[in-house]
């Protein structure tokens, strides 16, 4: 997965790993949202939609944070 010359991740495996990270974090955020919904909170339409959109925003931000750190460390 890494280049022999630089030791950095090649772009194709990096793209797959970023995609896997995002899909995992989307599942995680959606799961936490459903745990909150299980308590009976957040069923009003506007609140519910805001929560659904928030999972997308948070999962993208967390993906950027994780891969930003990896890039900052020079492994990407």
């Amino acid at each position: 997965m890494t280049s022999n010359a630089t030791g950095r991740l090649n772009w194709l495996p990096a793209l797959v790993l970023v995609g896997l990270t995002w899909s995992f974090l989307q599942h995680l955020c959606s799961g936490v949202r459903h745990l909150l919904l299980d308590t009976g909170a957040g069923y009003e339409l506007k609140v519910n939609k805001a929560g659904a959109l928030a999972t997308l925003v948070i999962s993208i931000l967390l993906t950027l944070l994780i891969w930003g750190l990896i890039f900052y460390r020079g492994a990407l």
């Binding site: 995680l28 799961g31 299980d38 994780i66 750190l69 990896i70 492994a75």
Partner: protein, 128 residues
């Protein structure tokens, strides 16, 4: 149910009474997944180096290998419960039985392989 012919009684059995346990274990493993995978991601990001020997050294410690084994058990159990619901929802004929058996084989087999790999690194350390 209960008043008709014997086949009628069998068909009218209704719930298997395992749903609540299934539902609760899905939530329970969701919580343990959240804790254990957060620990895993933070631990990996905090490693000083990301090469083979750094990872082997990290995994040689019981403080890494034991939580990682717990994470494997939690994740594979969560996966088994979740995909069982998908099969029950979308597979209507006898193939659902085959699918659920295959799912169980995959979940237990995958977890066993992962735990074996963790133990091998934890007990044996780096190769050469």
């Amino acid at each position: 149910m209960g008043n008709g012919t014997s086949i009628g009684r069998v068909r009218g059995l209704g719930s298997a009474h395992e749903g609540a346990k299934h539902w609760w274990h899905q939530r329970l493993t969701a919580g343990s997944n959240l804790l254990l995978i957060t620990w895993l991601v933070v631990s990996l990001l905090r490693l000083p180096l990301w090469n083979y020997h750094a990872l082997v050294l990290w995994l040689s410690s019981p403080w890494a290998s034991v939580p990682l084994i717990l994470a494997i058990i939690s994740v594979f159990y969560h996966l088994r419960l979740g995909l069982q619901v998908v099969i029950e929802d979308y597979q209507h004929d006898f193939t659902r039985v085959i699918a659920i058996v295959l799912l169980n084989f995959y979940a237990i087999g995958g977890a066993a392989l992962a735990i074996y790999a963790i133990c091998k690194v934890a007990f044996q350390g780096a190769i050469a």
